[in-house]
């Protein structure tokens, strides 16, 4: 082997994102069909953390440079700071973690003391009765601890600034709680905070959405994710759907447009269908999904795109605790990659780069898709130039329909 070969082989280490799933919630929201369990037992959570540490050890690799870590759920903030700290330490032992790693943790607003009966001691899953009269709520210690162990980004599930709407979808907090949580996080040193907002909530109107938008914008978060409520089969809200007044598609489209223009006025860039960020504050972790970058999902029901495969972890807690983590491994064909590349890339306002497309797949984008894109461009859904193709805001709203027309499903 010549020196040149050696240098050639010494590529910059590939970047990797880690997704860590914490499948516990204090209560299950009425619309939720993600993998999460109501947990009131701290032993159960500790057992899970131990299994998670085992998985991290077994899947550790030094071939990659980890640049994002994302604790999602469930409600990751049901773990205490010590547990989060152990997980992060274990990650650092078993992976190479870069210095400016983005470490995000999803959390729900703290519940104030007013309804101690079912309030959650923040960062500690113990039932309130177990902690007697101690005041584990809102003293900010938890966030300070998180900062100390390296969490540097929070994603707070606020969802609405209207308390009656929050109640209807089974959220336990009020907007006051959310505001307080946000300011405590700030005081604790978090300078990169994302908040979630929903539209299409039962009883929500254009006016109430405007209020939510105004209130949430006034918090001054760096990043805002805005989703429309999905009625997923099997959820309580789906079963009760006929009892609610739900917005029709035109109203939802109006709402989406209102969201987009409010966000823009407030100085957020619309960088992905559902995501808005202040300059330079885009979610680095989520961006990996849209760019087909590699990420490893750890924990129950976590998904990975790693080593050319999509890997699905088991949804069965019993199996997971026994160390049988992986349920499914799928080799992704080049054609399917192409499908994913377009499906995910077109979620972003940057869109897809035709030269990158050619570099990855050896296919001329215009030759294969140009005609179909042109038809949609004429209808006013696309923006393109020689290098980039992207959906515009009208296109975002009907992106599934457009993708279904453009993509090649016979991969």
């Amino acid at each position: 082997m010549t020196m040149i070969d050696i240098i050639k082989n010494q590529k910059a280490p590939r970047k990797l994102g880690l997704y860590i799933h914490i499948p516990f919630c204090r209560t299950k929201c009425l619309y939720c069909d993600f993998c999460s369990f109501v947990s009131r037992d701290s032993n159960e959570r500790e057992e899970y953390v131990r299994a998670l540490l085992r998985e991290i050890k077994s899947r550790g690799t030094k071939e990659y440079l980890v640049d994002t870590i994302y604790f999602g759920g469930g409600t990751p903030s049901l773990l205490n700071a010590e547990q989060i700290g152990r997980i992060l330490a274990c990650v650092r032992e078993n992976f190479v973690v870069c210095e400016d790693v983005e470490v995000t943790l999803e959390c729900n607003p703290m519940i104030s003391k007013r309804d101690v009966e079912d309030a959650v001691p923040y960062g500690d899953g113990l039932d309130s009765r177990d902690v007697g009269d101690a005041d584990p709520y809102g003293d900010g210690d938890y966030f300070v601890e998180l900062r100390k162990i390296g969490v540097n980004r929070l994603s707070i599930g606020i969802q609405s600034a209207i308390d009656s709407e929050l109640k209807l979808i089974g959220r336990r907090h009020t907007f006051e709680d959310a505001k307080r949580t946000f300011s405590i996080a700030r005081e604790s040193g978090f300078d990169n905070i994302s908040v979630d907002l929903m539209f299409g909530i039962p009883s929500q109107t254009g006016d109430s959405l405007e209020i939510s938008l105004r209130r949430i914008i006034s918090l001054g978060a760096e990043h805002i994710s805005i989703y429309s409520l999905q009625l997923e089969e099997g959820t309580p809200i789906y079963r009760m759907r006929n009892r609610y007044s739900l917005a029709d598609d035109d109203t939802l489209a109006d709402m989406y447009e209102a969201v987009v223009s409010s966000m823009k006025r407030a100085g957020y860039s619309h960088y992905e269908i559902s995501n808005f960020a202040k300059a330079g504050r885009e979610s680095r972790h989520n961006s990996k999904y849209w760019r087909l970058d590699e990420y490893l999902g750890l924990g129950l029901a976590a998904h990975s795109d790693f080593g050319g495969k999509r890997i699905e972890n088991t949804k069965d807690m019993g199996k997971y605790l026994l160390g049988e983590c992986v349920e499914n491994e799928l080799e992704i064909s080049q054609g399917e990659r192409e499908f994913e590349f377009l499906m995910l890339g077109l979620r972003t306002s940057r869109g897809i780069s035709k030269s990158e497309f050619f570099a990855r797949f050896g296919i001329d984008f215009d030759e294969k898709y140009g005609e179909k894109v042109k038809i949609c461009e004429k209808m006013g859904y696309f923006l393109q130039n020689d290098e980039f193709v992207a959906l515009n805001e009208r296109g975002f709203e009907v992106s599934n329909s457009i993708l279904a027309q453009i993509l090649d499903f016979d991969y």
């Binding site: 993600f34 989703y227 209808m379 709203e397 599934n400």
Partner: protein, 604 residues
Amino acid sequence: MNERQKHIRNFSIIAHIDHGKSTLADRILEATQTLTKREMEEQVLDNMDLEKERGITIKARAVKLDYTAPDGEKYVLNLIDTPGHVDFNYEVSRSLNACEGALLVVDATQGIEAQTLANAYLAVDANLEIVPVINKIDLPSADIQRCRDEIEDIIGIEAQECPAVSAKTGLNIQSVLDAVVELIPAPEGDENAPLKALLFDSYYDSYLGVVVYVKIIDGSLKVGDKIKMMSADQTYDVVDVGTMEPFGLKSSGELHSGEVGYFAASIKSVGDTRIGDTITLVDNPTSEALPGFKAAQPMVYAGIYPADGSRYGDLRDALEKLKLNDAALTFEPETSIALGFGFRCGFLGLLHMEIIEERLEREFNLDLITTAPSVIYRVKKRNGEDVMVDNPSNYPSPDEIEAAYEPLVKASIITPTEYVGGLMDLCQDRRGIFIDMKYIDTTRVELHYKLPLNEIIYDFFDALKSRSRGYASLDYELDEYNKSDLVKLDFLLNGEQVDALSFIVHEEKAYARARRIAEKLKENIPRQLFEVPIQAAIGSKIIARETVKAMRKDVLAKCYGGDITRKKKLLEKQKEGKKKMRQLGSVQVSPEAFMAVLKLDDND
């Protein structure tokens, strides 16, 4: 007449739908102990599932029953079942020609209905001895005396002594058998004359080939005989001869004058067997053929397309299979710009059409799109040509037309008097020409109208039923063609004409229909990525307009925790849904939506 022949009775049961024909047939089978009660399948004679569900008989069936009369005499009864519905009059008449008598079943709670009359007239035409049987006398609302009087007054046959039974409970069934033996004449005919047999039905069997049902008029038919079908002018070698038993065919090797049975002769398709044809021996032919029947003429046409275009071949195979046993069904390939490849099919009537559709869907597992049914129009063109049009797409353009003619039917409606007003309004609304109105008794009326066939092929029967709370009954027969102000109504989606939606309509009705269908299209066309104008036009003149607004929003689902499989599945589902869509010009419409538009009914 020989002793054997004296003990044969060939008869049919005829009735208005739901008057209990099949139930009576069951009881007769039971009473002759051809079947024990335990063996008894509900209504043995109707053996297609569809028939059982709809409670109607579609194809004629025949069965031989051995019966020992109370006096010890042994008889052979051949019961030949007939369809009850107006669409199948043709099949009724061919079955009746194999009989010497008919039991006319009348529901004691309903009295005479339109099809009772129509069937009775067919039996009279066939020179049959008619034996009325009053049924359902177990019901509290049965009025036996009124029924007897009605039969005498309206049909003009003696009914004071006729059997009154409950086929359901089995009450008085013996009196029916007594009447069959005593009143229905034994078949005449000369066993020693050359073979003369009537072909009255046939069906395809995968083992035997075509099985032909015959009534031997004169002579005998044996295995090994070389036979000739006189009108088809074809000869065959007989390989099997026998009788129809309740549970299937039974070989007997021969049939003699007066008997009803089957033969097989390696015939490949029922198309080779003409109902009404005369069968004789090649070596010793009869001198004179029986008077033939008129072949059934389709009256209603519709395009049938596979919802999934790739199943065109399956649809063709399925139609061919049905055609094996249904001489009245016609089909030929047609193409529609909107629907692709399919078939223009001809039916005896709407019920026939529905039955064929249902059998295609059920027995052959096909999803179908059926265009609006049409009748055959006659168009005299300015260039002197005379054309028959069974497909609106082929309708000449207005400036080529000198005159247009549409078929009329003579309709007879029997209804309780309180609904007469509503039904007359209905007929009026359907461009009916009033002929007369006869009081059957103080409570019931028989109305006669001439109606354009194209006004009754959509939903007339349903409208009739809903305006009479189900009490009115209908029968009709094809009459003459009449000159009419017809126009072809076209529909355009996004500026492009959709051929499959075109239909012919009377000018006066064009505007209302155009508006209704445009509205219905609007309701049923899913919002697309662009705005879709809907227009209805006569020639180049737009007479109705609607708009489907562009779609504005679909699911903005979260790619949660890197799980992109959900999103993929969502898109795949959307794509799957699209596959099923029909591309009508640039607009995508689901087959269901298309059907919804075609199935306009009275309430729309």
